[in-house]
């Protein structure tokens, strides 16, 4: 190693150490793990989006799984139809083996099952009333919540989330104005963000916590209609 490259290596090493120390210094100024956990309770919308992300990734996986098997089937079929050419047959069988190896590597046979919901999802009451044009577009069952989404043709969204009673739910009060109200005789909080065309109602009974939300893309739903949805959840 000549003098120039040795000098460069020394500088690179010193630079690396300094960058690590700078990162350490930055992180050491941050709150503790416990303080970070309590710093913010993620909104139901965020949790829902993240769960959808996990689900989407799983869906991709399933879609590719089917694609691989379809490709495999097609190749096997082709092999029957092809000529007696030995070279072609050999390369086909190598390709089939390669596909099969990928499939076995990437799709473990003992795939994890979906998490078992801690909420009794079979007895969860859904809204019996929805405004015209809204249809169920998604449902999520996770360990920490159950969620149903409904949308109309203009992508206005109503979402209904259910949480175990032990859950801590928080709402960004900088964004919403809120008022106390009742839903089916239970104390509830009604939150509005009219600029953002959002409503939210939260209440609890003896079995679970309910959170009904509306996110308008085109129009803000009539308030009475929104309450009518909530009252229909029994």
């Amino acid at each position: 190693m000549n003098a120039t490259s040795s000098k460069t290596a020394n500088f690179d090493d010193m630079l690396r150490r300094a960058l690590i120390e700078d990162s350490k210094n930055y992180l050491s100024d941050l709150p503790t793990k416990e303080e970070l956990e309590n710093f913010h309770q993620f909104s139901p919308k965020f949790i829902q989006s993240m769960n959808q992300l996990f689900r989407t990734r799983q869906k991709h996986k399933r879609a590719i799984h089917s694609l691989v098997w379809a490709a495999l089937f097609g190749i096997i079929l082709c092999s029957f139809l092809l000529s007696q050419n030995e070279t072609a047959k050999a390369s086909l069988s190598a390709f089939i083996k390669e596909i099969f190896d990928i499939e076995n590597t990437l799709i473990p046979t003992q795939e994890k099952e979906e998490p078992i919901p801690t909420l009794d999802s079979t007895h969860i009451p859904v809204p019996s009333f929805l405004p015209d044009g809204f249809k169920k577009t998604d449902e999520i069952f996770s360990e920490s919540f159950v969620s149903f989404s409904y949308q109309n043709d203009t992508d206005d969204t109503i979402y209904m989330n259910y949480y175990p009673l032990s859950s801590q739910i928080s709402v960004d009060n900088e964004r919403f104005e809120w008022a106390a109200t009742t839903i089916n005789g239970h104390d509830a909080y009604f939150m509005t963000n009219e600029d953002g065309m959002e409503y939210m109602l939260m209440w609890r009974d003896s079995t679970r916590i309910y959170s009904l939300g509306y996110q308008g893309k085109s129009v803000l739903l009539d308030k009475d209609t929104f309450f009518q949805i909530a009252e229909s959840i029994k």
């Binding site: 500088f11 690179d12 010193m14 630079l15 690396r16 150490r17 300094a18 960058l19 690590i20 120390e21 700078d22 990162s23 350490k24 210094n25 930055y26 992180l27 941050l30 709150p31 793990k33 970070l36 956990e37 710093f39 913010h40 993620f42 909104s43 919308k45 965020f46 989006s49 993240m50 992300l53 996990f54 990734r57 799983q58 991709h60 996986k61 590719i64 691989v68 990928i102 590597t105 990437l106 799709i107 473990p108 795939e111 994890k112 960004d172 900088e174 964004r175």
Partner: protein, 180 residues
């Protein structure tokens, strides 16, 4: 091609662990930069999306390098957001061709008396993020120029230019100190 799209169950578990372990940290860092809970939540999600596309760059969940990497990605997304929204001075690309790569005008003034390593550390603490982040990804996480370009959505030429520029200026300042 299939491998690029696929998730193994190990990758999914890794991603879930990352999410459980780092979501609060990521949110805190983002909120401290953008000062808006809703934007910080959106950017937290963007950070995880970004991480999910580059899971192979992440080693063990608990190791410091993973923590640095995640923090670096989160900060990059936050500064990028601010740059688009408000043209954040630390992350402005308008001034990229000007001489100063530091957040302060005369960085030599406060570190001229220091030892070489301490001076380098002080200079790095004043380095603009557009220069510091590629350096962190290269020297802490061992990413190549191409990999950094992919992670930061920049061209490899831009990444190379920023790294070279930052290194040469740091070296030059260290040399000036020796002369003094």
């Amino acid at each position: 091609m299939l491998v690029l799209v696929f998730d193994t169950s190990e990758e999914r578990d890794k991603f879930q662990l990352l999410y459980e372990k780092y979501r609060s940290l990521i949110f805190y860092i983002l909120k401290s930069i953008v000062h808006d809970s809703w934007v910080a939540e959106d950017l937290t999600q963007d950070t995880f999306l970004k991480l999910s596309r580059h899971l192979n760059k992440i080693g063990k969940i608990e190791q410091p390098e993973t923590r640095y990497y995640i923090v670096t990605i989160a900060k990059h997304l936050a500064f990028d957001y601010l740059r688009k929204e408000k043209n954040h001075p630390s992350y402005s690309i308008e001034n990229e061709n000007q001489d100063n790569i530091f957040t302060e005008e005369n960085v030599m003034a406060f570190c001229i008396e220091m030892e070489e390593y301490d001076m380098l550390l002080a200079l790095i603490s004043k380095l603009k993020d557009i220069y510091k982040i590629p350096l962190q990804l290269k020297y802490i996480n061992g990413l190549s120029t191409k990999e950094i370009a992919k992670v930061l959505d920049l061209s490899p030429d831009t990444v190379k230019k920023r790294i070279t520029r930052a290194k040469s200026q740091l070296q030059q300042l260290l040399n000036e100190r020796k002369v003094v």
